[in-house]
Each structure stands twice: as C-alpha cells, then as structure tokens.
C-alpha cells in the first residue's frame, strides 16, 4: 500500500513528475555519455598507438600524420621517399621495427593500405578465413570491412582513387581477397590490407619505376630503447625532407583538447542534475503546501509523521531513480546510434551493457539529490498542526 500511494501520487501529478524525471534523465544521460565516450576514446587511442613510438611521413601537421597513418581518419600529409626512409630511419640501429604504409585508394570508403606482414603482427591479427597476401593484388580484409561489404574469399573488386568512395576506379587491376581477419577492436578492422607492391603496381607499371623512386605514405617505427625516441625525431625533422611525429605526444595534446570539451559537458550535465533536484524540491514543496490537508488526513487516520515523511522521501527517491534509469536508457540509445553510424569511420565500439563505476557513483549522486530535495521540504510534515489544517482546508 505504501508504494501504491507513492506511485499513484506520482501518476496523479504526471506533468511535474515527468519534468523531474526528464531533467534528471537528461543530466544523467549527458554525464554517462561523456564518461563512456571519453573512456572509449582513451582506450581506442592507447590500444592503437601501443607499439608505435614514432611515425615518419611527409612534412606537415604532426597530428594529421598520426590521425591519417595510425587511426586512418584524416588525409595523409603527402608521400615520402622509401629510399630516404630506409636510409635515415630503417637502417638506424636504434630502430627495432619499421612498418611502411602506402595508401591513397579505397573500396566503397574503406581504405586500402599497402604494407608488410609486420603490420598484421603489430595488431596481433588472427585469420578468420584464408591467408596473408602473398602475391601482388591480393588483399586481406579487416573484420568490419568483410562484414559490411559482404566480401568473401576469392571475391574480386576494383579500387577507387583517393579516400572517398566516389573516386575514379582502377578498372584494369582488380584486387582478390586472400584472407579475412577476425575482429581485433583496433583500426585494422576497417582496413583493406595488401602488399606495398600492389599499391605501386596499381599506379605505375612495375617496369616504369626505379627502386630508388618508390614512395610510401608513412612508416610506423618502434625503437629498441627510449634513447631512439629522444634522438631520432630531431635528426629526422632537421636533416631530412620527412617529419617525425610522436603518437604519445600528439594524442596527449588531442586528449587535452577533448578533455576541456568533456569537462565543460560534464559541468553542464551536473548543473542539469542539480536543476532536476531543484525541480523535485519545488514539486514536493508545492505538493506539501497544496496537499497539507492530505498529509493531515493521513495522520488523522493513524499514519505517523515519520510514515508521511517516508512517503514524500520515497516519492523524491523514486523520481530520482526513474530519472537515473531514463538517463541510462537515453545514454545507451545514443551509444547504440554512435555504434551504428560512426563505427565505420571512427571504429567506435561502445559497450552498451557495461555499467561503469562512474555510473554507479552517478546513481548514488542521483539518490542523494533525491533524498536532499525531497527531505528538505518534507521536514514540514513534522510541523503540521492537524486541527488547524483540517479546519482551514
């Protein structure tokens, strides 16, 4: 009966109850979304840059170089000479691994990246079907590419020039699918991988170009010791036509930029949650004022003041809890939409079913706000004069 009274009361005041729930829901949804997106962003960044100490590419924006070569979400800064990269970087004894990348074509929006088998090893890729590219024009598909484009082993396709799906098609030289990878959760899932020679082959005839004229777009470098990290970037930037960018530094810079936006969004969301608490407070304060006779009646019928106080407190707590649940539902809905529409471009894979520690704290915060905003006006119950109230109304 206790809960029935509270639920019926909430239903009776549909509009003001809905306002409280929606305000709380919006606040919780924004905080939850910002926290989950921030977490996913950091996770995605750290996973994808792990094992890459430095990226070498054409001179230009270092952030653009990292975004295009590591995350494949921006246009490359240009090409560099493979001979120069080999001479200055690969041959340096401090370099442990050197993974060349060559890209500039796509198939239906998915980038085709020429590299070496070392790239697959770096992302610990495991084959779902087939095998690695062994001949020119053979490709290995990332899991997402295979799923989205419904490509199977031995299927052939023609790539398009540029990074947009609308580019000019290379009709003479189709690619053949030699393998499909299992999902890794990394950027490799959305790439079409082939040997470097395939990229060169598609743009220039093999016999038309000399070995020393070959170009790559970038190279991912891993050092044997931190010493390489301290000396190599300066050597490259000062003494070559290439630029060296450090993923850790660029990502920190990017995250700090995101961080400010995330912080502002969080503060805004906290403000909304507080406003929702205020609306619960106003709603219950008005309810207590307007329905003092109801409370007095309940007490006349035998309810203790604590019981009536409990009814009001439960009402506030329920409104907050419902707001919290609505917030989580909204945040999961938006996360699902992000997964649906931005997964391909940004490889976002937000876990809809995971309740983070942050969200548990958020529940505690919502309930505390509910208790405070319901508790304060409800104290008035202890001051109700039964005789006066029942005679007056």
């Amino acid at each position: 009966m206790f809960l029935k009274i509270v639920l019926k009361k909430i239903w009776h005041k549909k509009l003001s109850s809905l306002l409280c729930i929606v305000l709380m829901g919006i606040g919780v949804a924004i905080i939850s979304l910002v926290a989950n997106l921030g977490k996913q962003l950091e996770k995605s960044f750290s996973e994808n840059i792990s094992g890459i100490d430095m990226v070498v590419g054409a001179k230009g924006s270092p952030l653009q170089l990292i975004l295009s070569s590591v995350f494949h979400i921006d246009a490359p800064t240009g090409n560099i000479s493979l001979e120069e990269a080999n001479r200055i970087v690969r041959s340096n004894p401090q370099v442990k691994s050197f993974i060349p990348l060559s890209f500039g074509d796509n198939f239906k929006g998915y980038r085709i990246v020429g590299s070496t088998p070392a790239l697959l090893e770096k992302y610990q890729a495991v084959f779902q079907q087939g095998q690695i590219f062994e001949e020119p024009m053979q490709v290995v598909l990332g899991a997402k590419v295979a799923e989205d484009l419904e490509l199977k082993l031995d299927n052939t396709f023609q790539s398009a020039h540029g990074l947009d799906a609308e580019g000019e098609t290379h009709e003479q030289k189709p690619y053949n699918v030699s393998g499909i990878l299992q999902p890794t959760g990394s950027v490799i899932d959305k790439l079409i991988l082939c040997d470097l020679s395939s990229i060169w082959n598609i743009h220039i005839h093999e016999d038309e170009v000399h070995e020393e004229d070959r170009e790559i777009t970038a190279a991912l470098v891993n050092f044997r010791s931190p010493m390489g990290l301290m000396t190599m970037p300066r050597i490259i930037n000062e003494n070559s036509t290439m630029q060296a960018a450090l993923p850790s530094i660029e990502m920190n810079r990017l995250l700090s930029l995101f961080g400010s936006a995330i912080d502002i969004s969080k503060y805004l969301a906290y403000l909304i949650v507080v406003i929702s608490g205020l609306s619960v407070f106003i709603s219950l304060y008005n309810s207590l004022k307007e329905e003092q006779e109801e409370k007095a009646l309940m007490m006349t019928l035998g309810a203790s003041r604590t019981t009536v106080f409990g009814l009001l407190l439960t009402e506030g707590l329920l409104l907050s809890a419902l707001g919290y649940i609505l917030g989580l539902v909204i945040s999961r809905l938006v996360m699902w939409l992000i997964n649906q529409f931005f997964a391909k471009e940004y490889l976002m894979n937000l876990n809809l079913w995971e309740i983070s520690t942050y969200e548990i704290y958020l529940l505690a915060m919502a309930l505390v706000i509910g208790i405070i905003s319901a508790g304060l006006p409800s104290i008035g119950v202890y001051r109700i004069n039964l005789s006066e109230t029942l005679a007056k109304h």
Binding site: I5, K13, L297, T300, L301, G302, S304, S387, L390
Partner: protein, 212 residues
Amino acid sequence: MEDVLRLENLKFSYGVHKTFTFPDLILKQNEQLLILGNSGIGKSTLLHLMAMLLRPESGKILLNGKDTAGLTQKETGHIRAQEVGIVFQQHHFVKSLNVLENLTLANYFSNQSQNLKKAKDLSRSLEIDHLLKQPIYELSGGEKQRVGIARALMNDPSLVLADEPTASLDDKNCEAVYHLLTESCKRNKSALVIVTHDQRLKSLIPNQLILS
C-alpha cells in the same frame, strides 16, 4: 453500558485571548449527542479535543475508560485510528487514490489488514458500491459525503464524530445524511457526536448539548 466518552473539567485556550471551558459529559455505546451553538463558540474545538487532534489545557478526556492525557503522539494517533471515526465538514481525501483505496487507507494506517469486505458492505449500505473504482475527484459533493461516512466506520470505531455534516445541504439531503449517519452508527454500535449549528437537526436528536 460502558462509557465510550467521558469529559471532565475540560478547558482549552487559543493563546491568552480565547479560552473555552466545556461542560462535563458522558456518552455511552449507541448513544447520540448533538452539540449546537453559534459560530466561534468552540464546537469544532470540542470536537477536535474529542478526536485528540488538540490537547486540553486542563481536564480529562477518557475514551473507553482510558485517560488520553498522558499518551504520546504516536499512541494518540494509534488510538484515534482504532477507536474514533471522523466525518469532516470539508471533504478531505487523498485525491490520487480511488474510492476503495481511500476507504482501506484507514485500515492501512491503523496497522490493520485491508478489510475489503467491510469496505464493500459499507459502500453497499451507503449506496456507493458502484463508485468504488472511481477516482475520488470525479465524485459529486453528496457522493463524497457518503464516502466520508463509510471511511469513518471502516475500523469499527466506538466513537464517530461528525463536524457540520449537513451544512450547505437542502432539507431532503440533510435528513438523508442524518439517517445515513445514525443508521450506520447503530449497525456498528458506535456512539455518535454531531457538531453543528444546523437547527434542522434539533428535532431529530433529542440528546443535545448547547454551547453558549
């Protein structure tokens, strides 16, 4: 017969300016008492004292032989819920609940199990059984009056207090409400106190206390 209500040397003050002194009275099971008097003479104050909604400045209120003076707020509330049924002048209800829920609220708050049979029997005898699922705010004034009487009798109280139950009613309805109250109390073996300034009830209840 046992005394249901006994008042002795009862006095109540609203601040220093307004003091009421009430005559002693004894009310037994099944008895009816009409308290009459002009406005402001203390009729409602006396009723609220009987209902233990107010505490007397001095004097005694004995309910079923028990002195109510030393009781805590919680004990007072418990005894009121069990022993006293109040029919209010204004229609006080929990608006979000329907008629049946408003009736059983009296059971719930007095820690008794929900007596649906009692609610249905009472509503049948008061001809409001077709309204049980109806939201309270959809009822007419007369229907609310009947629901108020039914609620006052839900816990089989030994004392029923009615505050101006016939005010603003026409003669026909005045008589109908009087009959409903007295018949219901008779069936329940409850003592009935009606506080009113309605002179029409004078001829209906011979046991009268006129405050002056």
